[in-house]
Symmetry: C2
Subunit: 240 residues, 2 copies
DNA sequence: CGAATTTTTGACTTCCATCAAGTGTAGTGG
DNA sequence: CCACTACACTTGATGGAAGTCAAAAATTCG
């Protein structure tokens, strides 16, 4: 990955916007489907926006974003409920796309995040001329459906313990696909948000995390900081 | 798993307009986005296929379907589990589209169904020349995501009773949007399938249906035949 | 009709939500 | 630095909802 970026740096010196060259998601999502000319144009017109944890991400106005690449961080999508509470319906990890247009959801930074925002008008323009981009977006949406359905089953059938184990596994794998034992990371969600996401209560989340710690599969260093002791055992208890 | 297509009614050139004009889904899904010329072409090349309840619907081979309009009936989409069992992940009602391409799911006729099958090649051709069709398909997929997320919440937070009530409500509304009290219909799913769909057990489904009958909100005439007594009360207990 | 399947009902158990109290852990301001 | 508040998290006790096991009743179908 890194080598490829360096090679491109050599081939197109100064032509591709610097921020794109160094971008972790340069070869992910729609950016991977862009020609270098298109990437140049995109690089000029996109804005890199930073959001601190807990900040809502708005997309409004005429030039509303319909697509953002999550450069760093974790974003959660939630739906408001009639009783005023919210339900987290999806988590989006870096490096990946943020298909905000997909549903009437609120996107909120779960951790400090950076998002590369592509204006609606620009994306439409590109989509019209580059079928590959359109295809990519469509495929991502299909994956989204599949993912959501998969998690639906997870919520319906698994025990609280399995749900928690599974979520931790998800954090590990999405956070660093090559992560193994000894991997240390921060939980991107509060206990309350985890509960929301999994359809549990805070108390149950806390209890099951304690149980997971008691089995020595993970170590909870402090409130949010977790160390993975056994990836294989984590996988075993996650009910997949 | 063996017999797929029970009846395959081909309709001939020249009669197309009649076929499509009389079609219940003429103004739904992608058909609504077609010009009359395109509709004629589609009419020529689509096949109306009938599936009896319980029959799996396969789309394979070179000319694999990627889009079918459900003309009549109810189709369920399921995912196979590692233990050999299946999980129903979505229900598709007539008149609507059957976006089979959306995920690696098995589509199976829940009730006797008729599906208007559009060959892959033809759809690709239309999509290439008619942006509105592409947009329609994309929008339908987005709706699919939204719907799935909505149901995910439903599975995670609602009581068994609310889930059942909600499903009955869904059957009523999707079966006949104008249906009111006294409306009689057949449950398109077995208790076991309902359990699968809602993340419950057969016993619980049976108990909650009995409870729903005890409240006089519905009447269960025989195993699958149900009469709606009070739409408003059904809505009240469905937890929406 | 009789066999097989689906559905209902009952008794018991388990898991998780609820209610309640206690323990950190920041963050603010005196 | 401490006192104060606010918030996030943990732990315990209890009850209820739904799962499990088991068997009867109803429906379907050959």
């Amino acid at each position: 990955m890194t080598q490829v970026i360096l090679t491109n740096t050599f081939i197109y010196p100064g032509e591709i916007a610097a921020k794109c060259l160094a971008c972790p998601v340069r070869f992910a999502g729609i950016c991977a489907a862009l020609s270098s000319d298109e990437l140049n144009e995109v690089g000029l017109k996109t804005t890199r926006r930073k959001f601190t944890a807990g900040t809502p991400i708005f997309f409004e106005g005429d030039d509303v974003l319909i697509h953002g690449n999550i450069v760093t961080g974790v974003v959660h999508l939630s739906k408001g409920l009639s009783d005023g509470r919210q339900q987290i319906v999806a988590l989006q990890f870096s490096p990946t796309h943020l298909p905000v247009k997909t549903a009437r959801v609120t996107a909120q930074a779960a951790t400090d995040s950076e998002i590369c925002a592509i204006p609606n008008s620009l994306l439409n323009e590109i989509v019209g001329s580059n079928a590959k981009v359109e295809e990519t977006i469509y495929k991502q949406t299909l994956d989204e459906v599949d993912e959501t359905r998969h998690r639906m089953r997870s919520i319906g059938r698994k025990t609280a313990f399995e749900k928690i184990a599974n979520l931790i596994l998800m954090f590990v794998l999405k956070g660093d696909p090559g992560a193994g034992n000894g991997y240390r990371f921060e939980l991107p969600l509060t206990r309350s948000e985890i509960a929301d996401f999994l359809g549990l209560t805070v108390e149950t989340v806390s209890r099951k995390l304690t149980k997971l710690r008691a089995t020595k599969i993970i170590r909870i260093d402090s409130g949010r900081s977790v160390t993975l002791n056994s990836l294989s055992r984590l996988h075993d208890v996650s009910g997949c």
